[in-house]
């Protein structure tokens, strides 16, 4: 049991070591703008724009549920307009970034791992290298940059959608007026809430795309290997999102 735990932690340490090298190689490819420059906009569309529907879908329902939960929790002692405060705060600080991140770990991370994994097992990555391309510049950088840039944008839209739907739910299903909802929304709001949510989102975007690229390019052994890389990407990304979420709360939210 202890030995198994030991083996697992050695495995994880080793994995992080390889990942560290991988990140360093990717950063070293940054000056090679000619290779990744042309790729970045198509990638931003694929990772960003195409992810919007699922992100907004999740956000819409989260907003509705948050409004109802808030009104259910608020007792007679607390005025109803707190519903607005709760919806706003939880959306911006936590649920917007984390729920979107988890959903996109599935959509974006798995997609990258499967694509690069197939390229690896069909020797397309080898072919790239023999044609004097650096896979870090050609494949990894555009994806990681697009992820890091587009995640905050997607999450910003998700936050707006969640709050909007929270307002719709509050005004139609609950005895709250628009003025009250807005009053609650403004009550505890500080601009840092949004900044915090967006910084988190950028870090999620970076981690998800990096893990997808790393596991994809390290795929071994045919279709089964590709499936394995895809699954592991989703699992590791989800874990890393939760770890990072705690990390940012500890470093940025303590007084």
């Amino acid at each position: 049991m202890l030995a198994a735990l030991g083996r697992r932690s050695v495995g994880i340490t080793e994995l992080f070591g390889h990942l560290g090298h991988f990140v360093a190689d990717t950063l070293r490819a940054v000056p090679d703008v000619r290779t990744w420059g042309r790729q970045i906009f198509p990638m931003m569309r694929r990772i960003g724009v195409d992810s919007l529907p699922i992100a907004l879908f999740i956000a819409a329902f989260t907003g509705i549920v948050l409004a109802l939960l808030a009104s259910y929790t608020v007792t007679a002692a607390v005025p109803l307009y707190f519903v607005g405060a709760l919806v706003g705060k939880t959306t911006m600080l936590e649920l917007g970034p984390v729920l979107t991140g988890l959903a996109l770990a599935g959509r974006v991370g798995a997609n990258i791992a499967a694509e690069l994994g197939s390229m690896r097992v069909t020797e397309q990555v080898d072919a790239l290298e023999t044609l004097a391309y650096d896979p870090h510049a050609y494949l990894v950088l555009p994806r990681v940059m697009a992820g890091t840039l587009m995640f905050p944008i997607i999450v910003a839209f998700a936050m707006a959608t969640a709050i909007f739907m929270g307002w719709v739910a509050a005004t139609t299903l609950l005895p709250i007026t628009t003025a009250e909802f807005l009053r609650g929304l403004r009550l505890f709001y500080v601009p840092f809430d949004v900044t915090f949510g967006l910084i988190k989102s950028a870090s999620f975007g970076f981690v998800i795309t990096m893990i997808g690229c790393f596991l994809g390019l390290n795929t071994r052994g045919g279709a089964e290997g590709v499936g394995d890389a895809t699954t592991r990407t989703v699992v590791y990304s989800a874990e890393m999102i939760l770890v990072l979420d705690a990390y940012w709360a500890i470093t940025l939210l303590r007084p």
Binding site: E123, D126, A127, E129, T130, L131, A132, Y133
Partner: protein, 262 residues
């Protein structure tokens, strides 16, 4: 010149190469033959640094590949054309973009020149007119020829062909053999050709080396290999299911004439 010196490579517990030593001289075509899974592909992947040797070295023009820095390795790769066993075409790109891909990298040619070179390369492998097709729409043999076009489009100094004619019909195989011979004559390239097809080996090769159990079993000119008395080599080039007993019993003996077997 490409020199393999005591090349060893294992994947986990599986030892593939146990000390391959072979010299490919400038301007010659070296054919590597050997059974399936003996490590022929693994051997030539070391030439462009796709694999790192466990021991031994591979040197191209005197530069040891595994000791090159990233930039030097990239420069070396730009002089080597690699035809992959299963083509390895980029399936997200059209055929034209596949062939143009390496040309765009160097930045030395205009789009106009690239287009001309692509058309010409595709014509050489008898794939003219497929420019706008996607790889998935082609048959295995057609993809293989596009892979060949992609490699020769670069006009490299070295060409590594991993089974260029396997899976092609006899006529197309002969066309590809012709193309390899002409490419060598026109561009003076040094090539390594991996093949199972002995007819093709005799046609394109200056010398032939047989890889067996992780080492070079025999190396020699086409004539030398054809007259080999090594039972393992004879078995392979004649395509017999087992080693002939009398060859083993009398190593070094001149093999019996064809047709004298019961």
């Amino acid at each position: 010149m490409i020199e393999f010196r005591g090349l060893e490579k294992a994947f986990g517990a599986k030892v593939v190469l146990r000390g391959v030593s072979l010299t490919v001289r400038d301007g010659e075509t070296m054919v590597i033959i050997g059974g399936s899974g003996t490590g022929k592909s693994v051997t030539i992947k070391h030439v462009v640094g796709l694999l790192e040797p466990d021991a031994g070295t591979v040197a191209v023009d005197g530069q040891v590949v595994s000791e090159l820095r990233r930039r030097e390795l990239t420069a070396l790769r730009a002089t080597v054309g690699y035809v992959f066993q299963f083509a390895a075409l980029f399936d997200s790109m059209t055929i034209a973009d596949n062939v143009a891909f390496g040309l765009r990298r160097s930045g030395a040619m205009s789009e106009e020149q690239i287009r001309e070179r692509v058309t010409e390369s595709l014509r050489l492998v008898e794939m003219a007119g497929t420019e706008r097709t996607m790889p998935a729409e082609l048959s295995g043999g057609m993809r293989k020829r596009v892979g060949l076009a992609r490699a020769i489009a670069l006009r490299p100094k070295y060409l590594l062909y991993d089974e260029p004619t396997t899976g092609l019909d006899p006529v197309t195989s002969a066309v590809i053999d012709e193309l390899m011979i002409r490419t060598r004559e026109a561009l003076g390239v040094t090539s390594i050709v991996i093949t199972h097809d002995m007819r093709s080996a005799y046609r394109v090769g200056d010398r032939i080396a047989m890889l067996y159990e992780g080492r070079i079993r025999q190396e020699g000119t086409v004539a030398e290999i054809q007259q080999s008395t090594d039972p393992i080599v004879r078995q392979f080039i004649e395509g017999r299911p087992s080693v002939r007993a009398e060859d083993v019993a009398a190593p070094g003996a001149v093999p019996a004439a064809e047709g004298s077997q019961p």
